[in-house]
Subunit: 472 residues, 2 copies
C-alpha cells in the first residue's frame, strides 16, 4: 500500500465511516479478477460510498493524494474494464452501495436510478408502475446501471430501443476534479454547450464516476410472440427483417443462429430440442411485441411469415405456442456461447459492420478465417438487425491446452483486420477496457487516437480515473 493510499483510506474512514472501507483481502478477492477469470488485478482496499456526496469526497481525496481509482459495478464486463491493475497502484471504487431507485414515474416515462442499482431491480421497479425499461442482457441479475451506462451496453432489444445511449436521459457523475456534474434535471431540450452526459456514456469510467442515471421508460408489453424461422442464408435473413420492418413496427428481437450453433446447443445443453422438424442452414429467432394487449401480434406475425414463405424468403417457421415454448426458443439463443465452450476452446469477437453488409461479411469472413487457419471453425450468431455479430472461432482440429496462447492473438488480429477493412467496429457492444486496448491502438486512425488522448488528458490530467483502460 502506498503512503497516499494509506492516507486516503484513513481520511475516507474518518469522513465516511468504517462501512465505506473494505480492506479485508477475502472480501476484496472476488472483485479484483474479471468474472471470466482472465485478468487478475490487485487492490489494497475497496471503497464503497453510499451517496453522491461521498463519491465526490473520495474523488477529491484521490485527486489531492494522486491515488488512482477503478470504478466498479457488477463486475460483469467482457473486457476487464473494471479490473484494477495488477501492481496494486489503484483502489477499487465499488458503486454497489449506491443502490437506490430515486424515482420512477409512468407519467414522466422516466426513472432515476443510482449507479449500483442492478438491472433486474430496475426492470421490476418499472414493472411495478406499469412501464418497462427495455434494455436487457444475460447478466441482468448482477450488472448495474452505472456499468451499463459507462459501457453503453447493448443486448438483445437494441433493434427497437437502441443501446444505453438512446435510453439515458441524463447522467449524474463526479468529474476527476471532484466536481459534481448534474445532468438529471429532466430537460428534454438543453443547448448549453458540449454534452458531458454523452461524453460519459461509453467512457468506461475514464472521465469520471457515474453516480446516477435518468432513464427513459417505455410502455409495458401488452402481448408478445416469438417465432423460430428456418432459411437459406444470412442474406435471406436480412431480407426477412426488411420485409417485416416494412409491415410492422413490432419487431424487437431478431437473432441469427447458424445450424452449427443450433447443433452444439442440442448436443450440450440439457432439455433443448429443435424448434423445426427439418434442417436449415440458418435460423432466426424473431420476437414481436406490442404495448396494446388487444393487438393480435401473434396473428400478425403468423400472417407475415406466411407471406414471406410464399415469396420464398424463408423455408419454414413456427410460432411459440405458449410462454414456455417462447422461453425454450430464447434458451437456444442464450446458450450458444455455453454450448460452444462445452464443445471446446472458442475465441469470441464482438464485431459490427453496417447492417446491409453483414450477410456478405459473415460468409466471407468465416471462409477466410477457416482458410487462413485450416482446422478451426468460424461462425457468427446474434444481432443481425444491428449489424452486430458475435463472431466465434472454435479451435476445432487445433484444440490444445496452449491454443489460446499460441494462436489466439493471430486469429483475433486476423478477424479485426477483416472487420476494419469492412469499415466495421472491433467492439460493437463490449467496449475496449484492457483487453482490446492494443487492438484499438493498432487499428484506430491516428487522428482519433489523438482526440481520445487529448480529451482524457483534459478532463483527467492527474490520471486518477480508471487508469490503463480504453484510451490507447
Amino acid at each position: 500500500m502506498t503512503h497516499g493510499q494509506a492516507q486516503l483510506i484513513a481520511e475516507a474512514e474518518r469522513r465516511l465511516g468504517p462501512k465505506a472501507i473494505i480492506t479485508d483481502q477475502q472480501d476484496i478477492e472476488p472483485w479484483v479478477t474479471d468474472w471470466r477469470g482472465r485478468v487478475h488485478g490487485a487492490a489494497s482496499a475497496m471503497l464503497a460510498p453510499a451517496s453522491t456526496e461521498e463519491v465526490a469526497e473520495i474523488v477529491r481525496l484521490a485527486a489531492e493524494l494522486r491515488v488512482p481509482l477503478v470504478p466498479q459495478g457488477g463486475n460483469t464486463g467482457m473486457v476487464a474494464g473494471a479490473t484494477p491493475p495488477g501492481d496494486g497502484s489503484a483502489l477499487l471504487l465499488s458503486m454497489r452501495r449506491m443502490n437506490r431507485i430515486r424515482s420512477v414515474s409512468a407519467e414522466d416515462r422516466r426513472a432515476v436510478a443510482e449507479a449500483g442499482v442492478v438491472l433486474e431491480t430496475l426492470h421490476e421497479a418499472a414493472d411495478d408502475v406499469g412501464m418497462r425499461f427495455p434494455l436487457t442482457l444475460g447478466a441482468r441479475g448482477s450488472c448495474t446501471i452505472g456499468g451499463l451506462t459507462s459501457t453503453n451496453a447493448g443486448g438483445t432489444q437494441v433493434l427497437k430501443f437502441g443501446t444505453m445511449r438512446s435510453l439515458v436521459a441524463g447522467v449524474e457523475a463526479i468529474l476527476p476534479d471532484g466536481s459534481i456534474h448534474d445532468g438529471l434535471s429532466g430537460l428534454k431540450k438543453d443547448n448549453r454547450g458540449y454534452s458531458l452526459d454523452q461524453l460519459l456514456i461509453g467512457a468506461e469510467g475514464t472521465l469520471g464516476v457515474i453516480t446516477a442515471v435518468a432513464l427513459r421508460l417505455v410502455p409495458a408489453i401488452g402481448a408478445r410472440t416469438v417465432a423460430w424461422v428456418g432459411l437459406e442464408s444470412p442474406t435471406r435473413a436480412l431480407e426477412l427483417l426488411r420485409f417485416l420492418e416494412a409491415r410492422t413496427d413490432g419487431i424487437e428481437g431478431f437473432e441469427l443462429v447458424p445450424q452449427d450453433s443450433l447443433r452444439l446447443v442440442l448436443k450440450h445443453v440439457p432439455n433443448t430440442r429443435p424448434p423445426l422438424s427439418g434442417e436449415h442452414d440458418w435460423q432466426v429467432l424473431v420476437e414481436a411485441t406490442t404495448p396494446d394487449a388487444d393487438h393480435d401480434v401473434a396473428g400478425e406475425l403468423e400472417r407475415l411469415l406466411g407471406a414471406a414463405l410464399q415469396q420464398g424468403i424463408i423455408e419454414d417457421a413456427v410460432l411459440a405456442a405458449n410462454e414456455a415454448q417462447a422461453e425454450a426458443f430464447w434458451k437456444i439463443r442464450d446458450t450458444i456461447s455455453e454450448a460452444e465452450r462445452a464443445e471446446g476452446q472458442t475465441l469470441a469477437h464482438d464485431i459490427s459492420v453496417a447492417v446491409a453488409d453483414m450477410p456478405a461479411f459473415l460468409v466471407s469472413a468465416s471462409g477466410k478465417v477457416e482458410r487462413a487457419f485450416p482446422g478451426v471453425v468460424a461462425s457468427g450468431f446474434g444481432h443481425l438487425g444491428d449489424g452486430n455479430i458475435h463472431f466465434h472461432v472454435r479451435a476445432g482440429a487445433h484444440a490444445a491446452p496452449d491454443w489460446y496462447e499460441r494462436e489466439g492473438e493471430a486469429i483475433t488480429r486476423f478477424v479485426d483486420d477483416l472487420v476494419t477493412a469492412a469499415g466495421g467496429s472491433i467492439s460493437a457492444e463490449h467496449g475496449i477496457g484492457q483487453l482490446k486496448r492494443a487492438e484499438l491502438a493498432r487499428l484506430a486512425p491516428p487522428g482519433r487516437i489523438h482526440a481520445l488522448r487529448a480529451i482524457k488528458q483534459a478532463l483527467d490530467p492527474l490520471g486518477i480515473m480508471n487508469p490503463g483502460k480504453l484510451v490507447p
Copy 2:
C-alpha cells in the same frame, strides 16, 4: 488582412482554385452580419470548399498559419454563432458549396447529406423515396444540415422525434488538427471509446467543422390532422398532452398559445381568424400523424378530444376540416413572433424547464417579471411537450427607442435567474453562440465551465475553430 490570412488565401487559391475563395466585400457582406442584424462582424475573405478533402486542406493551412475560421451554413442562427469577430481576425468558412446528398435509402432508413445541404432539399429527397426527415423549423428554406447538427437544432416535431441529436446517425468532420473524423460508417453499434459524433453535435463549430451527416429517416406521413383546442391553463394543457399520449402514439405537435398571443396575431397578421368561436385563456395546437394512410387519425383525435371535453380537461376544440385549414392553424402559431414585433419591442428568451414543471413556471415567472418591471407584458408560447417555451417580454408601457439598451440586460438576467433557480436551461434550442456567452459564464457551475474549457483547449489548442463562441 493579416500576413497569415494573406498566405492562407493565396495557398488555398493555388490548391483549390479561384471558386473556393471570395474576397469581394460585396459578396461577403450578407454573411458577416447575423440575419437578425444584431451582430456585425468582418472578414477579409470567405472560403468556400466543395469537398471534405478541401475543407481538410483549409483547416490544415489554418492550423499551420494560426488563422481562425468561422464555419457557416445558412446564417439563420439566433445567437450569432456563425458571425465572425468584428476585428477581422478570422476568415469565414462557408459550407454552402458542399451541398450534395450523397445517399438516401428507404431500405436503410438513412440519408447522408453534406453540411451545406438546405433542410428543405433534404425533406424533398426523403420524400422522393417515400420517406421523411421529420425535423423542421421556420428557416427550413435556408438553414443547412451542418448548422442544424452543430447547434443540435429542435423545432416543432421534437415531441415525437427528438432534436438533431436523436436523428443523427453519424458525423463526418474535420478536427482542428486537420484530421478527418469519419463517423458515417453506418454502424448501429460501436463502442470504441468516446463518441466524437456526440461531442460535435451542439458544439457550434468550436471543436471542428462538420462536413457531412448521416441522418435517420422515418416513414412518410400517411395521414395527419390538426386540431385547435381552447382550455383554462397551462396545467390543463399538460394534462391534455398526458391524456393523449397515454392513448395514442400519433401526437407529434403540441404547441401552447396564450390568448394574448392569439389576439396579437389576429390584430397584425392579415388573413387570420380565430379557430374557435368563444374566447379561452389558453389554446393548444395539436398535430397528430400516422404513417398508415388507412388509419383514421382524424377520427381518433376527434374521439379523444371529445373524451377530454367530457372529463373537463378542455373547454372546446375544433379539427381542421381540410389541409388549408390545418395550414391556417399552423400559421397562427408560426406568426406569433412576427405579430409581437408588429405590436412593439419584444425580448425573446428560449428557455426550458422539466416538462412537468413548465405550467407552474410559466404562470409564476410571467407574474414575477411583470411585478419586477411594472408595465411590461410577459408571456410564453411554444413547445410545451418539450418543456421548452419561448418566453417573451414585451416593452408595453416601457416602449422607447432605447428600451433594449436600457432594460434588456436586466430583464434577461432576471428571466435567466428564474430559469436557473428552477433547474432549467437558458438555451433550450438556440445555443450559446456569442449572445448568451456572458450569461452562461455567469450561471453555469464552475465545474462545468472548467470542463467545457478543458475540452475546447484539448481539441483546439490553437484556438482556430470559431473563436469567441459558446465556451465562456
